[in-house]
Symmetry: C2
Subunit: 260 residues, 2 copies
């Protein structure tokens, strides 16, 4: 039984990549088999785990365009049961290339096709997505069983969340992915000292209720530092508030799976 | 003599919209005629100035698709010489719609065409762009004389900057916009207390030298609060560190124009 979770929010800089890397790592540390798919041409999830794809080396772009087999593109990471499907800036071409080639329904279903064969090998598959509602994010939402939505406790984040939820609803009702659910809403970079952060957090919980994780991720400089060492937070600074928060999140994430 | 400046960086959440609103407002407060163009479907620059476009009302989407004249879509703001060309989520359709219609060279030149007539009416035209290198940002880089690049003093930001500079270079050398220059690199959300912030700032100044503004924008909660009141920082909290920083930036921006 494997679950595919897309980590998405079209608002930029809200903690998608940081959550993708550190939730995947925390679950892998608990001996679950986890695949992290980097679907962003910025390739931050890849570099955040110390993986850089050289010219012509296999990456997700070559897998989606059929040049390389999925198995050849997978990379091991510093955590034994965490595997990465890396990205590179080549992926940016996919948004334009795909549009001019295949008919639209096929364009959005490419990733789902390629990941179908991976379900037997992993307990969880996470997809880090770029800050847009374009073809790449659409591919992720078509491939996923659920979507986890990181957000900042900031004004613009609240506005964007409504737009994002509309998109998810559309994907369900138009039959593109009728079984897509919301995995949860995660408050990131929370700073309890400011009114803004507390006010937006309260508003989000009022509006989205149980969907919002009890665990919140505090602003913690160690989380900003760890990608420059190519390590997830639990390897870079296990005693930090950031590491504790993502370990708590992993526990809460698993508890929600049991409730079904 | 009018100048068109695109405020761009494909990395998300680095301060593009906050800089667009507050630099435009600071210059307008000095009695310069300023137009702020919101080219992001998230429409954060619009809502940050208290402007919401209703169903079917004129916005940049209707201007670019030729349904509305530019003059009808322009909105006044709380600052007399600051005018806004607002956005709405309709704009997201443009990336797909444009691609299927016109040949590629025309697709990217649409905004440049529409803004040509505006140069006589404004001293400065700023364009807020979404966090991607797609067709909307390409339109902005084709229309602009220069590009101002906000960035955070964070690890991922450093990596993305190289990718962004490559794109600007390509636009120049491929003849799409041969005269496009870099207006400057602006360090945002700077927190002098952390090593990460200081280290990345030093690295950026070493790498980009004079291109980096001496003015940096500190992390300041008032900047996060002001959009929820629909006001630029100089109207919401003139005594704050955020307001002081954007007024200093406006001065440094103007000084650079004199040097030519
Ligand atoms: N809780 C946190 N505390 C401190 N810094 C953080 C935290 N979470 C993320 N960061 C930093 O904030 C920046 C934005 O986070 P991140 O890159 O994960 O967001 P994103 O949503 O993936 O961005 P994009 O929209 O560009 O993909 C990064 O530099 C990251 O290191
Ligand atoms: N100097 C600052 N101090 C504190 N908060 C800030 C500062 N600058 C921006 N912010 C807040 O940080 C968040 C990200 O900033 P902003 O939306 O301007 O970035 P952006 O680059 O336009 O994002 P996107 O990539 O989604 O367009 C916003 O909630 C904003 O209010
Ligand atoms: Mg990211
Ligand atoms: Mg923005």
């Amino acid at each position: 039984m494997s679950k595919i979770v897309s980590i998405s929010n079209q608002k930029g800089g809200v903690g998608k990549t940081t959550t993708s890397i550190n939730l995947a790592a925390a679950l892998a540390a608990a001996d679950l088999k986890v695949l992290l798919v980097d679907l962003d041409p910025q390739a931050n999830a890849s570099s955040g785990l110390g993986v850089y794809v050289g010219e012509g080396e296999p990456d997700i772009y070559r897998v989606l365009t059929g040049h390389t087999d999925m198995k050849q593109a997978l990379r091991q990471t510093a955590i034994p049961s965490l595997t990465l499907l890396p990205s590179s800036s080549d992926l940016a071409a996919l948004e334009v290339e795909l549009v001019e080639g295949l008919p639209s329904a096929q364009r959005a279903g490419l990733l789902a096709q390629k990941l179908a064969g991976m379900r037997d090998h992993f307990d969880y598959i996470f997809i880090d997505t770029p800050p847009s509602l374009g073809l790449l994010t659409l591919n992720a939402l078509m491939a996923a069983d659920s979507v986890l939505i990181p957000m900042q406790a900031e004004y613009f984040a609240m506005e964007g969340l409504g737009q994002f939820m509309n998109t998810v609803e559309l994907i369900r009702t138009e039959g593109l992915n009728p079984s897509l659910t919301i995995e949860g809403v995660l408050l990131c970079m929370v700073d309890d000292r400011t009114n803004l952060s507390r006010e937006v957090s309260n508003e989000v919980r009022e509006y989205f209720g149980q969907l919002v994780y009890e665990t919140t991720i505090p602003r913690n400089v160690r989380l900003g530092e760890s990608p420059s060492y190519g390590k997830p937070i639990i390897l870079y600074a296990i005693e930090s508030k950031g590491a504790r928060a993502y370990l708590d999140l992993a526990e809460e994430f698993l508890r929600r799976q049991d409730k079904g």
